[in-house]
Amino acid sequence: MQIIESQKTYDVIIVGSGAGGGMATKVLADAGLKVAVIEAGPFFDPADPKTRTQLKWPYESPRRGAGTQRDFGEFDMAYGGWNIEGEPYNQIGDTKFDWFRSIMLGGRTNHWGRISLRFGPKDFKGKDRDGLGDNWPIGYEDVKPYYDKVDKLIGVFGSNEKRENDPDGFFLPAPKPRLHELYYIKGAKKSNVDVIPSRLSILTKRINNDRGVCFYCNQCNRSCSVYADFSSGSCLIFPAQKNGGQVDLYVNSMVSEVTIDENGKATGVKYINKEDRQQYALKARVVVLAASACSSARILLNSKSSTFPNGLGNSSGLIGKYLHDSTGTDRMFFIPEMMNRKRYNEDGVGGLHVYSPWWLDNKKLDFPRGYHIEVWGGMGMPGYGTGFNPNSLNKYLGLKVGGYGNGLREDVKKFYGSVMGVSGRGESIAMKDNYCEIDPTTVDEWGIPVLRFNYHWTDHERKQAKHMHETFEEIGHNMGAVVLGNKPTKEQDYGLLNPGRIIHEVGTTRMGSDPKTSVVNEYERLHDVENVFVVDAGPFVSQADKNPTWTILALAWRTSEYIIEELKKQNL
């Protein structure tokens, strides 16, 4: 097999088409640069009726939406999952790191929760607050203009609340709370927990003439066919092409390494075409990695040469290190007052209409950093699982559990919409000992060495999870709910989910001003290689109790502008 070299040279190669890659594509192509986007999965357009699952009914599938094919149910729009045939990853020791990948144009942006939170001023300077981890070399004021632009370009609903660490923005109006959310508001207020309208990148109001307005089907995880939610393909890459941009999409193309010349400057990438299983080389003046924090780290670590024997840009030895995910734990409530509900359509947007941003002062607590609370429930579309244990809640009413016959119909109808849930999602401390690295013992089906993970939670995270459950129980009690299940014990890590499970993994190519203690500079450029950038969540120094996407987008925009300036100055 020979490497097939393309004669074409691009200004920029972008590896990956999720949030970071999509934003880089949009900004760089709009500036007139010749861009190649290399995506490991197939082409995907949410509007294509052939791949669409939005507005389908469970009975249109033989498994009624069960999660045997796709982990979050077969209508969920992520091609991939926790484990992908032919593309394994391994664990070190007793590590249980769960890695979710969505291998398709747009990546995980096609199915994500659309929770779009800016980091606040305190989030960039964690070390100043408690001495743990590191500060970012930039602050909120550096990123704010880009958050503003992202709000206006992509659209996010929410409300300006003048909260110190949950900055205001340019919001679309919020959807009114649903019934269970009104119960939650009541319980949270009584517990002195703040509640505000949620902030989701879903168009509750028109933002331009190319995208539709939300029609409230609650199915953003199926990717919106009228482009009323943020997915990278529909909101960034297609508009860049439509705008006359020179964007070539290489799909089903798995990048194995970044290539360099004798001076240690990147010349492009090598990739495997998954359809013909041939290896190709593509050239560009600049390489932008946006394959996801762990996949970009993997590409860099696999890009070994005599100049960079430990992997490209890895003179610090820190690529893969400081991997961290959000903390997370969940609880469910049964609200007896919500039994036998009147029926009406309360689908709403695909996600929560209200949430609780972090509301406490850590000085009075035994753990660092905060968490926010997400709320879920309602009279949702039935599917596989609806009707399981049809009357298990009878035990809270002093009634018998089990049986058969038409009484079960009445049980299912009685309890429908009376159960809701709360999820705590918090900030963990980035640790050097939590990392991914190349596993020399294993390759994937494309012949590329895979990752293995080493990750352990500390008492910081466990105590935070404990606090989450205490809060959940208080709120549940104050809203008149039965809090289901027992409070997880210390032996159960207080219910803290496995690292990776919240799918906010960040930090593997962390940002800093000192090349000895960081991988990229404040413009997300490798300290070691002047024309390689990383615009996914790899550069995050810390992940805040916020979901990472809005910050990925803002930083990718900032980096892209920097690339344009540097190219103009002939510096790259």
Binding site: A66, R206, I207, K342, Y404, N406, K413
Partner: protein
């Protein structure tokens, strides 16, 4: 060509000249398979579609077992004015799930067999031929799990599994969803909880909160903000 025919040919075209069909014509008549495959047209990757078609081509349960499942499912959820397990296609659903979730296979096959062994010993006939009154005696014995038990006997577990599959098969079907009263999965304009429902629950919207919410009348107008981020359109 009618819509169904054209869809069928599209489907076959997309599967590479019906390769998946070829592999199963030996066990199931091709027109039956085509009927099953045509029924499911939601978005899947080629690999997923191929896998589903493979499962649809295979038959896991024997005909006698399917009859027993049908009998049991009718006892769990007898037909009424809203619908039946037949309307909800519960038996084909269970047949499919047994192939899709292999750990169901031994549990269900074994449970069905156990029911027959038990009925043979007690009533001198298999379950299906046992009179309904006696069938219910058997169910009364296995349908009420002890809420305090740490582990449940196999027959209780089997019945709970069947009850779950029957109930979910029914309530995820067209008739079941209608009976449940789910009103969504259709374009609409969410404008909050209806007033009578708020009243029933003794709840009200906070006016300050409502001021931040969508105005259904202007949501089609392109959003504009002032410099402070206040929406002005």
């Amino acid at each position: 060509m009618d819509r169904r025919e054209s869809l069928k040919s599209m489907l076959l075209g997309s599967m590479g000249a019906g390769l998946a069909l070829q592999s199963c014509v030996t066990t199931t008549p091709p027109e039956v398979v085509e009927d099953k495959i045509w029924e499911y047209t939601y978005g899947r990757t080629p690999k997923e579609e191929e896998f589903d078609n493979k499962l649809l081509c295979e038959q896991f349960f024997e005909d006698d077992e399917l009859k027993e499942i049908h009998n049991l499912a009718n006892l769990i959820l007898p037909p009424n004015e809203h619908g039946s397990i037949d309307d909800a296609k519960v038996v084909p659903f269970i047949e499919f799930m047994a192939k899709d979730v292999p750990e169901f296979q031994t549990k269900i096959k074994g449970g069905l067999m156990w029911l027959n062994i038990y009925c043979n010993a007690k009533y001198k006939t298999n379950f299906v031929n046992t009179p309904e009154a006696q069938q219910k005696e058997v169910l009364d014995m296995i349908a009420w799990p002890d809420p305090d038990a740490k582990e449940h006997p196999h027959e209780v577990q089997f019945f709970s599994l069947m009850r779950n599959l029957v109930m979910t098969g029914y309530f995820s079907s067209e008739v079941g969803i209608k009976e449940l009263g789910y009103k969504g999965n259709t374009p609409n304009n969410w404008d909050g909880v209806p007033q009578d429902v708020l009243d029933d629950h003794g709840l009200a919207y906070d006016p300050e909160w409502l001021a931040k919410c969508v105005d259904p009348n202007t949501r089609g107008e392109i959003a504009q903000w002032d410099e402070e981020g206040n929406l002005i359109s």
